[in-house]
């Protein structure tokens, strides 16, 4: 078949679970005897503390393990495999040199409890990244501690709450969140014990000041805004929105998930934002890793600095120290100083690009997103006529008549060798296909994707079964998610499923 897109049948192996391949007596790593006298652990610790063998723990040779994980990796699709237009996730290329940086023994083998004198290099790097993020955000102070965006949200909202409390302003129990927001926003507010009030986005897919004003009062702790929002649209009333919230005594939190649209173009601190988090694994190219680790630094205005999580890194002359003496701090959120191995990669990215390079990232991200949107308007419904920033949203409205849904289109893209866009999100658009190409992709790659999307739209009209029956080419076909949830089997046990 001559099809658009890069997909062809791969060389794909079967691979059982580690536990199923296990053979008694096999070992992957030789271990020398230590040079201290051996001990009888039963005598040393007492028999009552010692467990029996770990039942059914795997026994495999090194080659078994290498083949196992190599084969599993081949069942995955990564940015290194191909185009990954997953909206709101910013699946940009993760430069390989950043992996080398994070593995330098002077960074990867540094213990968090080393004497401060032995940590000057890594603290200097942390300070440099904090300064860069403050500059990019137009805010004053930064903590690198949150381990991911959601933890950043938790920290940011907690600081807002601490701010109000420190002023004796105790009735602020509500967080206003637009209906286009990520699910983490309401969940983070709830984790802080706050009530969530949904703000309906208005005409043109953005929040209008009048609608917000009706919800603002003396109970308002904060507005959590994503800008550009998850429709890829800039919240162009942002200054007015901030004024409305500030006038009611609340603060403005920015979900920085979509910062790829603002680098060097506009600064949240100039839009009335008081607190924001970054997703370093999105905007600053650290690997997504199949779902983490992320890193979610939080930037704040000086008014909120007393509430930053401890410890805070201080520069005194040419020395750096970790400061725990912070009476108004919200406390610690991470065992140490956040995901250092991740934030070091982000600093490497910023140092590689510099100011002009970062601004160019945003320009090209917007160029690519608008190019896709304008190229696909003929074949797919677009809910808004506006231009977008870094991502665009299409829907399955026109394909619906042929019995083809967004999920089908997503699965069909797999057959053609693409990762699908984000689907059914944002929730306010029925059948959303949210496409974020990132700045990294060439016009040829975009044209290939556009051609494939058009081909799928044609298939939906002429051969809908091809689309609804997709995918046929990955290692497995569509999953039975209902069965997984009805009879959860969450681990392997000898002798098969424990239930049913």
């Amino acid at each position: 078949m001559t099809a658009p897109g890069p997909g062809r049948s791969g060389l794909v192996f079967r691979e059982p679970l580690l536990f199923e391949s296990s053979r008694p007596g096999r070992a992957g790593v030789p271990i020398d005897a230590p040079d201290v006298p051996p001990v009888d652990v039963t005598r040393e610790l007492g028999a009552e503390l010692i467990r029996d063998d770990v039942p059914d723990f795997p026994e495999l040779g090194e080659l078994d393990v290498v083949r196992h994980f190599t084969r599993l990796s081949q069942w995955n699709y990564g940015i290194d495999s191909g185009f990954f237009p997953l909206g709101s996730c910013t699946m940009k290329y993760n430069p390989k040199v950043n992996e080398i940086v994070a593995r330098l023994p002077g960074l990867a083998a540094v213990h968090p409890l080393s004497d401060e004198a032995d940590l000057q290099g890594v603290l200097a790097l942390a300070c440099e990244l904090e300064a860069a993020l403050a500059e990019i955000s137009g805010l004053d102070r930064v903590t690198l501690q949150p381990a991911a965006g959601a933890q950043g949200e938790f920290v940011g909202v907690k600081m807002i709450e601490a701010y109000h409390r420190a002023r004796g302003d105790r009735g602020r129990t509500r967080v206003l969140i637009p209906d286009t927001a990520h699910g983490t926003n309401p969940a983070s507010a709830a984790l802080n014990g706050l009530e969530v009030v949904e703000v309906k986005s208005g005409d043109g897919g953005i929040v209008h000041p009048e609608a917000l004003a009706r919800l603002c009062d003396e109970r308002t702790a904060a507005l959590m805004l994503t800008n550009p929002n998850t429709l890829g649209l800039f919240e162009s009333h942002v200054e007015k929105l901030a004024d409305v919230v500030h006038a009611a005594g609340g603060l403005v939190y920015l979900d920085g998930a979509n910062m790829n649209a603002l680098l060097g173009v506009a600064k949240p601190g100039h839009m009335g934002v008081d607190v924001m988090h970054f997703n370093l694994h999105k905007t600053f190219s650290t690997p997504h890793g199949g779902g983490g680790p992320g890193s979610g630094p939080v930037a704040v205005k000086n008014a909120l600095a007393p509430f930053l999580p401890t410890p805070v890194i201080r520069r005194e002359g040419d020395r750096y120290r970790l400061d725990d003496e912070f009476p108004h701090s919200i406390g610690r959120v991470h065992a140490w100083y956040g995901n250092a191995g991740i934030w070091l990669r982000a600093l490497a990215y910023i140092r590689t690009l510099g100011a002009a390079g970062l601004t160019d990232v945003t320009s090209r991200a917007a160029l690519n997103a608008n190019y896709i949107l304008e190229s696909l308007r003929d074949s797919y419904d677009a809910p808004h006529a506006r231009r977008v920033m870094h991502e665009c949203v299409l829907t399955d409205k026109r394909q619906h008549d042929h019995g083809v849904t967004t999920a089908d289109i997503a699965k069909r893209l797999m057959d053609y060798g693409y990762h699908p866009p984000t689907i059914y999100f944002p929730l306010v658009v029925a059948g959303a296909l949210m496409i974020e190409p990132t700045e990294c992709e060439s016009q040829e790659t975009l044209d290939g994707f556009i051609e494939t999307m058009r081909a799928i739209a044609r298939e939906a009209e002429t051969q809908p079964d091809l689309v609804t029956g997709a995918p046929t080419r990955p290692i497995v076909r569509r999953l039975d998610e209902v069965r997984a949830a009805r009879k959860p089997r969450l681990r392997w046990t000898r002798g098969g499923p424990e239930r049913g």
């Binding site: 070992a27 230590p34 090194e62 940015i79 990867a108 540094v110 933890q151 100039h270 779902g291 890193s295």
Partner: protein, 427 residues
């Protein structure tokens, strides 16, 4: 491309950003570096730090130096793992999904419990999430926490608990270094005990469970040194309801404290109150075995403010490293490594007492012990001058014991290093 969009310049793409908000000046950042200069820049800062590979390090206290076989880096660096997203699209994420299913199984085997999630940020947030989970299960808001819990983990628990009004009560250690349950209040959601505890002592988790259950509370076991699970009676066997901790010891570089991998396992009846991602086995439309994210109605992307946690990511790549590391060491290797750690600590104990130092606690230890060192500050300076990282001074956490040092000895240390440490710390 501009023509198809219908604009004349890149700047026009940003017309929706009000003019007064558009940055006029370029960002003030240091100049861009090419790859060669970048490595030089980071290399020079890296050289300013002491690292556990280049020094004789006895640092532990929640971050442990263990051997990482070459295959761990090689396999976890594969782009198909490293550059993949959260496995929402199961058909093209089976590698990540099967791996996490294996990770969940390994954690269940080690903890002796029935369900484990796909990992949490770190041990600290795992303890916090476990406590919030216990509060949901029991509908109580007071949590009794052993004084042997890692002090940083305690702080994180306090930060997480504040939002829903969790009240923390401290259970003191007795003279032997183990938690005393005498003062346990009757209306607790959970009893949280770390074993081995922060001071190195192996706790009596059976006693913790008995006390917890008598009070109608859940028993939560926390573990900072996950390697101990290979040798010590498992939390599940000792009746604990939830086991949580950090899997950093299993193949994750110390890396200035992160990224690590928190784990959380529990009894099956609590599964719907668990935080974070769960991977389950299912079949595809051709009836082939396949894995998929499941029970997602607990999670924020479905339930929003009613979710069991706000967590969105897990520590996928770290969980991968843990799974590879555990598969390489395997059943015998893991046990043997744990036994070597016990032998190293036993030797350190002997060497330090022979050097005239006292050990404040009599309870058995795994690979870490507290030692009383007269004139500690001066001795630390001496040891550091001799190229050592001699351990963690406990005065950093508790000023009431200015001369206590936490010493960790793993398979990465040598007899000669331990002898030298004893020499430097002795008077």
């Amino acid at each position: 491309m501009l023509a198809r969009i219908g604009v004349g310049s890149l700047a026009e793409l940003f017309a929706d950003v009000p003019a007064n908000l558009r940055s006029r000046a370029e960002l003030k950042l240091p100049p861009a570096l090419d790859e060669r200069s970048l490595l030089r820049f980071f290399g020079s800062h890296a050289a300013e730090n002491a690292n556990v590979q280049a020094t004789a390090s006895f640092l532990g206290g929640g971050a442990y130096h263990h051997f990482i076989p070459a295959a761990v880096d090689a396999l976890s660096s594969r782009g198909e793992f490293m550059t993949a997203y959260t496995p929402y699209q199961a058909e093209i994420s089976q590698g990540t999904l099967q791996m996490i299913f294996e990770f969940q199984t390994l954690i269940c085997q080690l903890t002796g419990l029935e369900v484990a999630n796909a990992s949490l940020y770190d041990g600290a947030s795992a303890v916090a999430e476990a406590s919030l989970m216990a509060a949901r299960v029991t509908r109580r808001t007071r949590v009794a926490v052993s004084a042997g819990l890692h002090p940083n983990w305690l702080e994180v628990l306090r930060t997480y608990g504040a939002g829903i009004g969790l009240e923390l009560v401290t259970l003191p250690l007795d003279a032997t270094g183990r938690t005393s349950f005498e003062s346990l209040p009757a209306d607790c959601a959970a009893v949280v005990v770390q074993s081995p505890n922060f001071f190195g002592c192996i706790e009596d988790l059976g006693a913790a469970t008995k006390a917890a259950h008598a009070a109608g509370a859940l028993s939560i076991a926390a573990t900072a040194e996950a390697l101990s699970l290979a040798l010590l009676k498992s939390p599940g066997e000792l009746g604990c309801d939830i086991a949580c901790g950090d899997a950093q010891s299993f193949g994750l570089p110390i890396s200035f404290g992160g990224p690590y991998a928190g784990f959380l396992a529990a009894r099956e009846r609590f599964v719907r109150q668990m935080p974070g991602r769960l991977i389950g086995e299912s079949v595809d439309s051709a009836d082939e075995r396949a894995f998929v994210m499941t029970l997602t109605t607990r999670e924020q992307h479905i339930r929003r403010e009613k979710a069991t946690s706000n967590i969105c990511t897990n520590q996928g790549l770290c969980a991968l490293r843990v799974t590879i590391w555990l598969a390489l060491f395997g059943r015998r290797g893991l046990r043997r490594l744990a036994e070597i750690n016990v032998a190293m600590a036993a030797y350190a104990k002997k060497a330090l007492t022979r050097a005239g130092l006292t050990l404040p606690y009599s309870t058995p230890v795994f690979n870490e012990l507290t030692v009383e060192v007269p004139n500690l500050t001066q001795k630390l300076a001496r040891a550091r001058a001799a190229g050592m990282q001699p351990g963690v001074p406990l005065s950093r956490f508790d000023a009431s014991h200015p001369n206590r040092l936490l010493v960790c000895a793993t398979e990465m240390n040598t007899r000669a290093q331990i002898d030298a440490l004893a020499r430097e710390l002795s008077s």
